[in-house]
């Protein structure tokens, strides 16, 4: 019992380290930099924010979703240090009744629950855009119908 627990924790750290390294390398190679179809401009670097999102982007969780990663790395909001938890909250330890996640946020077998981000979360910061006549003539029920989630251009 003890042995298997020890093995599990070693494996956990190994895997987390491996995945974090992969994410860092990906960010360093330009995953966190700029592309042509991007919400960030040349010189605007999002790699730091992504590195700091290791709780979400490593550990067998979201790092396999390349579309999400690419969009997120090229988002102006990422450049502005708006990270996963700003919109999604976090959804590991407290919801699962665990004392806390580890440093990488990785728990074998306990992944993300998955939140849909409602319009009100967007309006926490962007009510001015909605209210402005120049911004929106309508008041749609969702923002993500038009604005690509995870990549915001301006």
């Amino acid at each position: 019992m003890m042995l298997s627990r020890t093995f599990a924790s070693i494996f956990k750290v190994f895997l987390a380290g491996l995945l974090l390294t992969s994410a860092s390398v990906w960010a360093a190679k330009g995953g966190g930099a700029t592309t042509t179809t991007s919400g960030v401009l040349p010189g605007e670097d999002t790699s730091y924010a992504i590195e700091k999102e290791y709780s979400c982007l490593t550990g067998g969780c979201h790092e396999t979703n390349t579309q999400l990663l690419t969009d997120h790395a090229n988002s102006l909001m990422t450049h502005a240090m708006v990270k996963c938890n700003a919109c999604h909250g976090t959804h590991t330890a407290s919801q699962l009744g665990l004392p806390k996640p580890n440093l990488t946020g990785y728990y074998p077998g306990i992944g993300a629950i998955g939140y849909v981000v409602g319009k009100d979360r967007c309006l926490t910061c962007h009510s001015a855009q909605l209210l402005s006549a120049a911004g929106h003539r309508s008041n749609p029920t969702t923002c993500t119908g038009c604005h690509v989630p995870h990549m915001f251009l301006k």
């Binding site: 750290v13 390294t21 730091y48 924010a49 290791y54 240090m81 938890n85 009100d120 926490t124």
Partner: protein
């Protein structure tokens, strides 16, 4: 009296069987519908945890946990965290509870945006929203066995008043130490300053702003004659070059960073120079990142000044008309050639030249700086040199050009203005008898009441700096009898913590009577307290907040203070109410603590009434607020000082006319009229400092080969008393860690997640490694937020010591006594 038991936060915990099932099924890691359904089967009982968002069993969408559906009204307020001062609206439900926050779209500072701390700010108010712990609701004292027992407010304030009187009688008023905060309201600071200096008559008053921005204050006072950031946020959109030194706004002041990003995208396309030993988010987007060696800011600034002068990128007319001591400055910096400075800083000489060229040739330059300057070697001198850079180029007092100190806490500026701790109210000079007499008259206390000398600062180590006394040293030598800690957490934030903890240990017979006034129970500083006073917090009280651009905002009460139903014996009261209770008790018990009319010094606990009294004290002074009312502050989304009835909105920028506050009658600091920066001719000229680089007191060597740097992360605020209780913040950075470079990690055989023992000459901690090239080889970084005395943290860290201030050095700036947190030497070993 019943022994108080801490409330337990009801969190549903999975059964071992449920967890086992989760761990055995790898598919649960995937985000597929069938997984949701599977989760749903397990999580039905979690449906209310985190705000009622998970209803997976029914197949409904799991929504992010904050919506506005239950909001019935929005209360306009201001953020209570950092000094950017974002305008917020607090959403209140039908039951009167705070259930949401959104940015105030009409507020000029943030135009509706908030950062991640602000948007979850409502979650620090009510027990049911806290991840761990609970709000303090009961005044408590220690019983004979040292256990906490609930006492009434009457008993608590009587006990504190008696202890103050006893200390005054036996050891004099200076034996009463008051250590407060950068997070109160103007009204609270003003009242505490009045109580401390006018009633208790102690000069042993300081605040955590000493740890935060003292270097800016002393740099400004000894250059311009007075404190006060000259510029404003609108300079961001009007500059051609950002010079960001020792600041990482992307992480620390996100709404300033957002404005910088937008400005950089404008047609004006200002350049950005970042000076930082780490590759922060800000640094990574810079046009020029000067990744200098820790502790070498003074050398770099001298190098930039040398280049500006050598290349004639200066404004001689401005220098002649508005400054003094230019020749001495020019002579001093002449030796700081790019090559010489490169040798000290580790930078490329060409990069130093480039920085100077951009600063010299850009029409407008805006400098922003914070702890990388203030908490480094030569903090005050660095601020003086940044100011000199703006003065000799004439780039000050106009749109887009200013030195701009930013502070960490929401109202550190307010403490500075009102004299809530170390300063004299209204930017007056302790050493100018006329200034003291003015305040004594306004407060109706007898001449000679206010201590005629400046404060005893919070911390120093007499073994390292024998000429700098401090409260911590008074604890060591037993001369501090009462230590009243309010709205701050020195058991986490002071340097060289092991010693500080020893001085306050209950086994030390010379320890003072320790009072802790705070919003949570437990928190680290309570560990050493004899008396606990539960305080109301942001959202539970009304008052004014001065942000970094001198804009005074109105923070409104949105909900009742926690434990309101327990009043009058129990329940949290606002700090203003607590200060008044203590003032009233002192006045009732002893005539020495009354004003000349025989009354309590603190006249009111109504914030607006107190603000109106403070306005009179500020009238005609540098931080004049006489033009402000609660109504016009609200109507204008804040008003910057100076504001007079004749020119209510006239406080946008200081020094537009090139006249500074260096004449003796205006100067905020100067022991005599012959102080260097006092203009002997009364021409209100700024003073240019000529100073040399001095090496830090401790540098890496064979025994302790790494530089240790400390700092912050975006999710946490200061000692985490608030942010560790917000799950959405905590879980992104749930425990302390050490950033180690890839090269050093390889040498040490360490990977991310390994436990690492970090040791300095003062202490030792064990934290997890985070391998990253944010730090250079030979340097490590550890966040400053984490304490290790709170039982919650002890449990979560398995008893490991994790607080970085067990390692930091209690060495303070020679001018302002701000500790040097940003560099000392450590060694690392895999734990």
């Amino acid at each position: 009296m019943a022994t108080h038991k801490h409330d337990q936060h009801p969190v549903k915990v999975f059964t071992q069987a449920e967890l086992k099932e989760l761990k055995q099924d790898p598919q649960l890691c995937n985000h597929e519908r069938r997984t949701f359904l599977k989760w749903g089967a397990l999580l039905t009982s979690q449906a209310i945890v985190g705000g009622g968002v998970l209803n997976l069993l029914t197949g409904e969408e799991a929504m992010a946990d904050d919506t506005f559906v239950n909001v019935v009204s929005w209360v306009k307020s201001v953020c209570g965290y950092c000094s950017v001062g974002c305008g917020l609206e607090i959403g209140i439900n039908a039951a009167g509870a705070a259930v949401a926050v959104r940015g105030n779209a009409a507020h000029p500072t943030n135009a509706g945006r908030v950062c991640v701390k602000g948007l979850y700010e409502h979650k620090i108010l009510a027990d049911q929203d806290l991840r761990v712990g609970s709000r303090g609701k009961y005044p408590m004292s220690r019983d004979a066995s040292g256990n906490w027992q609930n006492i009434t407010w009457d008993e608590a304030t009587t006990l504190l008043a008696q202890k103050i009187i006893e200390a005054t009688n036996t050891a004099g008023p200076d034996s009463v130490g008051i250590y407060n905060t950068g997070q109160w309201t103007i009204e609270e600071y003003y009242s505490m300053g009045k109580l401390g200096k006018g009633a208790i008559k102690t000069s042993t008053m300081d605040s955590n702003t000493r740890l935060c921005m003292a270097a800016a204050v002393y740099g400004y006072m000894s250059t311009f004659g007075s404190d006060g950031p000259p510029g404003c946020y609108d300079d961001i959109e009007n500059t051609d070059c950002f010079f960001l030194i020792g600041t990482n706004p992307a992480e620390m002041h996100p709404q300033v960073w957002r404005r910088i990003i937008q400005a950089r995208r404008s047609a004006r396309a200002p350049r950005m120079i970042v000076v930082d030993p780490r590759r922060t988010a800000t640094a990574r987007s810079a046009d020029l990142h000067l990744q200098l060696k820790p502790g070498t800011n003074v050398a770099l600034m001298n190098g930039i000044l040398q280049q500006l002068i050598a290349n004639n990128w200066i404004d001689s007319a401005y220098i002649n008309a508005h400054t003094r001591n230019f020749n001495a400055l020019a002579a001093k910096v002449a030796a700081y050639t790019p090559t010489y400075v490169a040798g000290i800083t580790g930078l490329a000489a060409a990069d130093i030249q480039t920085a100077a060229q951009w600063i010299g040739q850009s029409p407008e330059v805006w400098s922003m700086f914070i702890q990388g300057v203030y908490q480094s070697m030569g903090g005050t001198d660095t601020v003086r040199l940044i100011c000199a850079m703006h003065l000799i180029t004439g780039k000050i007092g106009r749109p887009g050009s200013s030195p701009f100190s930013i502070t960490g806490q929401a109202t550190a500026m307010s403490n500075r203005e009102t004299g809530g701790s170390s300063a004299l109210s209204g930017y007056r000079n302790y050493y100018n008898p006329a200034h003291i007499a003015e305040v004594e008259q306004l407060w109706n206390v007898a001449p000679g009441t206010i201590p005629a000398h400046a404060t005893t600062v919070i911390t120093s180590d007499i073994d390292l700096q024998p000429t700098i006394p401090s409260m911590v040293d008074m604890m060591r030598n037993g001369t501090l009898k009462v230590y009243w800690v309010a709205c701050t957490n020195p058991s986490v934030t002071l340097p060289d913590l092991d010693k500080y903890h020893d001085y306050l240990s209950f086994s030390n017979p010379a320890r003072p009577f320790v009072v802790v006034q705070d919003i949570f129970d437990p928190m680290e500083s309570m560990h050493f307290a004899d008396l606990f006073l539960p305080a109301a917090q942001w959202g539970e009280k009304t008052g004014t907040y001065t942000c970094s651009e001198r804009r005074v905002n109105l923070g409104r009460q949105a909900v009742q203070p926690v434990g309101f139903e327990l009043r009058p014996n129990y329940g949290a009261y606002s700090d203003l109410e607590i200060i008044k209770m203590v003032s009233d008790k002192l006045a009732a018990f002893d005539f020495r603590f009354r004003d000349q009319a025989g009354g309590s010094l603190v006249k009111s606990a109504d914030p607006e009434t107190v603000f109106n009294e403070w306005k009179l004290v500020s009238t005609g002074k540098i931080c004049d607020m006489s033009g402000m009312t609660y109504a016009n502050i609200a109507a204008n989304s804040g008003i910057a000082w100076p504001s007079t009835p004749a020119n209510v909105l006239g406080g946008k920028r200081l020094y537009a006319n090139g006249l500074f506050n260096t004449n003796w009658n205006r100067a905020q600091y100067g022991k005599t009229p012959t102080a260097a920066w006092i203009d002997p001719d009364g021409l209100s000229r700024a003073y240019l400092w000529a100073v040399d680089y001095v090496a830090p007191p401790e540098v890496p060597d064979a025994s302790y080969p790494f530089w240790l740097n400390t700092g912050r992360v975006i999710e946490h605020f200061h000692s985490r008393t608030k942010t560790k209780r917000v799950a959405q913040l905590h879980e992104m950075v749930p425990e302390n860690y050490v950033e180690i470079s890839t090269a050093d990690a390889a040498n040490l055989g360490v990977i991310t997640g390994d436990l690492v023992k970090v040791t300095s000459r003062r202490g030792e901690i064990v934290v997890k490694a985070k391998v990253t090239d944010t730090v250079k080889a030979g340097a490590v970084f550890i966040p400053m937020h984490f304490g290790d005395l709170d039982p919650i943290d002890v449990a979560e860290n398995n008893g490991r010591k994790v607080s970085v201030n067990r390692l930091t050095m209690n060495y303070v700036d020679k001018d302002c006594a701000q500790p040097i947190y940003k560099h000392c030497a450590v060694k690392l070993a895999k734990a």
